[in-house]
């Protein structure tokens, strides 16, 4: 009875994991024989400034993206939970970017955010403002990507929050109203705590999604300017598929997985504690 599960685990988890661990101690370019490399991959990782910068960049992305995502998604979900005219239409519209290919959206934003010729800067310029170096300044590039990622993904989190909002029993609000609670008090003491499980889900999902940041910098900036949008995943991809350093890329990948695990565990504990 359990054989299918064991086979599945062995083929799709066991074998790749063991192979990855073997690769950590080898150099391999896919086409030639593996060569034993001892601890060279690990030593290189410890001195790899660009990789640690990539992790910091990913952290910066998360710091901007997650709060923005939650605030915007919660705001939109609260509005769409009201009995508004045409709310079905708006729910569809907000969800639309989620199902559109990331590459398509990224190319669209490449045009919108272009420094000299982009639509956004043309509008700013026409209004008398100074052009913003959205994608060509080390300070602006990652926030611009976070903005774009939020726009693309917010529809998904709106749906999650909407589900959470619709599961809150109406009776709780009725009791609060009887006690004379204001709108804010109802939201702070009923809505927010009742949304906690969904909040945890949203934070964890958007954290994991944030750590897998790839398409946006890959298409938009190539990791530049000055490595400011080099995400951990993009760096690992470059090592693996541009430079064919499979052993080193695997070492980076395993380290990166550990970082994600630690962050998610800490975050889960923190969010659960904070929200109650």
């Amino acid at each position: 009875m359990v054989a299918p599960y064991i086979i599945h685990l062995a083929v799709f988890f066991g074998y790749p994991l063991i192979f990855a661990l073997v690769l950590v101690f080898h150099r391999w370019d896919i086409v030639t024989e593996m060569q034993f490399a001892g601890s060279r991959n690990v030593v290189r990782l410890l001195g790899d400034d660009v990789f640690f910068q990539a992790i910091m960049n990913t952290g910066l992305f998360l710091v901007i993206h997650i709060p923005l995502q939650i605030v915007v998604a919660l705001f939109l979900a609260t509005i769409l939970n009201e009995k508004l005219k045409g709310r079905g239409f708006f729910r569809t519209v907000y969800f639309l970017p989620v199902v559109v290919s990331g590459v398509v959206i990224t190319i669209l934003f490449q045009q919108l955010f272009a420094f000299d010729t982009g639509f956004v800067n043309n509008v700013i310029s026409a209004l008398g403002g100074k052009r913003v170096p959205w994608l060509v300044s080390p300070q602006w590039a990652m926030p611009s990507i976070a903005l774009m990622a939020t726009w693309k993904n917010v529809g998904f989190y709106v749906i999650l929050f909407l589900t959470g909002l619709q599961n809150i029993p109406e009776s709780l609000y009725e009791v609060a109203e009887t006690d004379g609670a204001s709108q804010w008090q109802k939201w702070r003491h009923i809505t927010l705590p009742m949304l906690n499980p969904m909040m945890v889900t949203v934070v964890i999902l958007s954290t994991i999604g944030g750590f897998s940041l790839f398409i946006e910098p890959y298409v938009l900036t190539g990791g530049g300017p000055m490595n400011s949008t080099m995400s951990g995943l993009l760096y690992i991809y470059n090592q693996a598929f541009y430079f064919n350093h499979m052993g080193y890329a695997t070492t980076l990948g395993l380290f990166f997985a550990l970082v994600i695990l630690v962050v998610v565990l800490v975050q889960k504990r923190f969010v659960e504690t904070e929200a109650y």
């Binding site: 370019d29 896919i30 086409v31 030639t32 060279r40 290189r44 190319i107 490449q110 045009q111 272009a114 420094f115 000299d116 010729t117 982009g118 310029s125 026409a126 052009r131 170096p133 060509v136 080390p138 900036t221 190539g222 990791g223 530049g224 300017p225 000055m226 490595n227 470059n238 598929f241 541009y242 430079f243 064919n244 350093h245």
Partner: protein
């Protein structure tokens, strides 16, 4: 067309032509094919920079082992070809097929409007021309016409067409390595970083990405490109569009430097072929004088062939194709890339320093070169 002609004349050896499947680069696709053991018998569009990896993998046949290889090499290869395309084991695994030298394409109308009579020959002249070309045409305080354009994303292969092309010129035809050892010409590197730094600092190159071709739209006046542009423009440019080619600008004070980067492409036979002799026969057919003429006529690409301009077979073609003749004249002075491991990562290091030293000017060109040498040494030591 060549394949059809071959198949008609050789019923016993039928060739099936297959375009390289779409990928980030043809090298990536071929590496995947080697790993999956699904390589074709022959590939005619191989970047020489990757051949060393193919040889290490045992994926390509040593062509110099074929009995009549030497006679082919003697009749076709220009001087120095064996040294530049040979492998460390003494064999040759590739036949350099086309040169693809990089030159400067410019828009003569834009030059004339700006009062520039001759194309700039030196860095100073280029910068001077750039200051006249780069302009705000609609009075909104933003430039909307520039001297040139490069994709500034730190993507390794992009740097072959700006930093490396100019490095080859400024160093008098040097590459990064000599006898397998890193020997970057730091003076040339400084000059090139400095040149592009001036261009970006002066706003003569935009920090943007164009979706439409900026040359055709008259948005930029010059571009560093290869002979393939002639065929592309023939098919895509409106009839009134005018363009010319000129040698790349050289550093001030350098009397002459015809050297440039050439994006060479080679032909190789993969070792999993079941028909090595037949494959070799077809490869020889691909590099005959007549086939090279078709490469010129159809592809507009410059074959790697000695005496190209003096051969009577090509005289008429070059008489009627002045622009491609310019490329053929530069062909003997083109330099490819070094046959070393981790070449992509070495160019990635260039891309990082190009951003820092030229585009964003975070540090001086000398510092960019110093960091480049340090990083290249680390990568080379790691890969060797």
């Amino acid at each position: 067309m060549l394949v059809d002609a071959w198949n008609a004349d050789n019923p016993d050896i039928q060739i099936r032509l297959q375009p390289i499947p779409a990928g980030q680069s043809s090298e990536e696709v071929l590496l995947a094919a080697i790993a999956a053991k699904t390589t074709p018998d022959i590939c005619s569009n191989i970047w020489p920079g990757i051949v060393k990896d193919f040889v290490r993998a045992g994926a390509v046949l040593p062509l110099s082992k074929f009995a009549d290889f030497d006679s082919l090499a003697t009749s076709r290869f220009p001087d120095g070809t064996v040294e530049r395309f040979g492998s460390a084991d003494g064999h040759i695994y590739q036949i350099p097929w086309k040169t693809n030298p990089i030159m400067m394409l410019y828009n003569p109308k834009m030059f004339a409007e700006a009062g520039i009579e001759t194309p700039p020959a030196t860095y100073s002249e280029y910068l001077e021309a750039a200051s006249r070309i780069t302009a705000d045409l609609d009075g909104d305080d933003q430039m909307d016409r520039w001297m040139g354009y490069r994709d500034i994303r730190p993507i390794w292969h992009q740097r072959r067409f700006d930093y490396y092309t100019f490095y080859v010129g400024a160093s008098g035809g040097k590459t990064f390595f000599e006898d397998g050892e890193l020997s970057l010409d730091t003076a040339a590197s400084n000059i090139v970083f400095s040149f592009f730094r001036d261009l970006y600092e002066g706003g003569h190159f935009p920090l943007t990405t164009f979706q439409r071709n900026p040359v055709l739209s008259g948005t930029i006046a010059t571009v560093f490109t290869g002979p393939w542009e002639v065929v592309w423009l023939k098919d895509n440019a409106p009839p009134e569009f005018e363009y010319e080619f000129a040698p790349l600008p050289r550093p001030d004070g350098m009397s002459e430097s015809p050297y440039t980067f050439g994006d060479f492409k080679s032909i190789a036979i993969f070792s999993n072929t079941e028909h090595p002799e037949a494959a070799w026969k077809f490869v020889k057919y691909l590099v005959t004088r007549e086939a090279d003429l078709q490469l010129l006529e159809i592809g507009g690409q410059i074959p790697v062939r000695s005496g190209l301009l003096s051969d009577s077979l090509y005289v008429d073609f070059f008489d009627h194709n002045r622009k491609l003749r310019q490329f053929a004249e530069v062909a003997p002075y083109t330099r490819g890339v070094d046959a070393v491991s981790s070449l992509q990562e070495l160019f990635d290091a260039v891309a990082q320093q190009f951003e820092a030293g030229s585009v964003y000017r975070v540090y001086e060109p000398e510092e960019a070169t110093r960091r480049l040498v340090k990083r290249m040494r680390l990568i080379h030591d790691w890969g060797s």
